[in-house]
Amino acid sequence: MEDLLAARSQMAMSLAFHIILAVVGMAMPLLMIIAEGRWLRTGDPIFRELAKRWARGTAIIFAVGAVSGTVLSFELGLLWPTFMEHAGPLVGMPFSLEGFAFFLEAIFLGIYLYGWERISPRAHWLAGLMVLLCGTASGIFVVTANAWMNAPTGFDFIDGQFVNIRPWEAMFNPMWFTQCAHMVIAAFQSVAFAVAGIHAAMLLREHRNTFHRHAIAIALPIAAITALAQPLMGDLLAKATAENQPVKLAAMEGHFETETRAPLRIFGLPDEDARTTPYAIEIPGVLSFLAYGDFDAEVRGLNDFPRDEWPPVAIVHIAFQIMVASGMWMLAISLLGVFLSWRRRRLFTARWYLWLLVITAPMGIIAIEAGWVVTEVGRQPWVIQGYMRTADAVTPMTNLVVPFTVFSILYLVLSVIVVYLLWRHVFQSPDLDTLQTLKDAAPPASEPPRADTPDTSNAPLPDSD
């Protein structure tokens, strides 16, 4: 394996692994604090149990995410020292801020996970809120740095050097807002669907278990709201891409000829040599409309750009199709869910809908991975769009296939263990008897729970920690 390819593969593999853990770490705190907040308001111990169990799953994933994120911060330099030497100061502002946001997130997650009996319920809930805010901020800052690679601004390029650096301009580059909003929504959307799907599967096994009904009742509204918002955000991002990275947009659409009334292509398999995209359903004018808000607008095709500046068209186009299809599917499932709950709350009794939720569980994650392929592969051959090629940024180190192989095996093993542990935690969810014990042990709702009363609610469970 060629060293450049090995370096790219290692980076891609590390990111593909980390991105799932990162979005879970970002979105799970929202579900946790909603559950905990409802416990604080109603005194219903099932909500507390739900928050605790979700927190355990989050803890496993956050720990692995924290270390795989550390790996990435080193890999930026280990694999792409030339890129970091030039881009470091330019992406410095978002990365420094991300450092602080992540730091605060780690601190408050420690307090949240281990502080249940040490601080007041209200302080504990606030710690969870801090995890949510800092996690989201940290995600936004990282994506901001990535957006700069797509739309580099905030410098003068003189003799191959990035000089007269304007850090704020680099940070608030033309792509930052649309890319960040798209990613943040995707994070909450994918995690909400995954959680709803897992609890739907459990509810299919024990269809009267209120534990899982409570869980779905929290996750599904988030899933629905984000699934409805995402296509709008995606459209804004497509417009920003059309303006800043016309090559990427052309590759996403398998669009070779520059034309007015450009068609939207659904499915299709781009052929770079023939410069066509056969097997596609073409809807005339829609691409022009989506990119520029005008059915007659001209959309530049790949043929307008030098061949050696094309990204791998087929990969980008197919990944884009997968992302959009998953998004549309999730949108349909959401609309169906809204309809069902509006029609006399049939949501939990409609087994076919629970099955649909189970099938939909991985869609968000698939969409995120595919969307990330669109972003990153779509920028090739550039690491900094228009300024630095990926091939010029790689380390002189040789035999990079070795670390690539080692880290791939390691991450594979970790994935298996994480999935296995999450599965064990899910299948130890409380059964009906345990839930009744929980209810009996709880104080009446009129008395708010206090930190200094002995915690009996957790005692009868098999894996209480």
Binding site: V67, S73, G110, I165, M397
Partner: protein
Amino acid sequence: MLELPMIVAAIIVLALIVYLLTGGADFGGGIWYLFATGERKDAQRRALTDAIAPIWEANHVWLILVVVLLFVCFPPAFAAIMTALHIPLTLMLLGIVLRGSAFAFQSYSAGAHRLERRSARVFAIASVITPFLLGICAGAIASGDIRRLESGAIDTNFISEWLQPFPFAIGALTLALCAFLAAVYMTVEADTAPLKDDFRRRALWSALATGACAFAAILLAMRDAPLVWTGLTNARWAIPFQLITALAALLAIAALWTRRFHLARTAAALQVALILLGWALAQFPYLVYPDIRITEAAAETAVLRPVLIALALGSALLLPAFVYLYKIFKPGPSAHTAPSPDEAA
């Protein structure tokens, strides 16, 4: 006048010191997990994981802060280090991943006992390897073998810069320091007298090991790391500084000997901070000796100034939160006044 690059460099050193004092002690916890012995073996291990669990992720972030500051503010130094030390840094990363994941797996094993036991062992072994490699990298940076050519390229064969006696001696020293810190902290945090005694013995032995490693490192520095050797012996500040460090070390040992564990903890932390500070002073004004100086490697003022402002604002949020975390999980002397059953007996 204080220049911006110097301020950033000082902050990096400070973050490294805090990382060694907190994250380093977590590594030490893993080392003692591996070498838990005697009849209270399980109690020692439980005390160690309880002490690490709520805080390790926060402690770990200091390292990320150092890396980010390095590539934002001193990009040529970052590129040089990451290029020449590719191998030990990659191995260190493997250690970091294994350690963090394995610790989480054994904490949240959901009753999977075999996985729990194996994870605990992986956590312990990775806790030994990781600080050792970190020390090797630090030693290599100071030894003067990482050369940056006029063109900006790094003259390296990726091996001879770090596969040397001196970096390995620094690796061993780092390992000893981590073990020492963890053992001393645990004399305060362990909740029974026999456990405190277990860790007291370990603290005293590792103090001895630290001294031996430091002595070996200094001897090797004479030949292999002229910059550190000159700094630590010839500079104007060197002798008084060495004396203060030695006094802190003696104080830590004396306090351990007489079982004044809170005093021992303060003295040990001071000693370790001074060792790292002495190292930083000896290496001044170089980031990577002898081709990359702090001022030459620094990014433009337009980059440094906003980063420093962000650091100041971030610290205003971060430091109270960090203190709050430690207040919750590491209560001070006042909270420990109630004697544990064993001490009372």
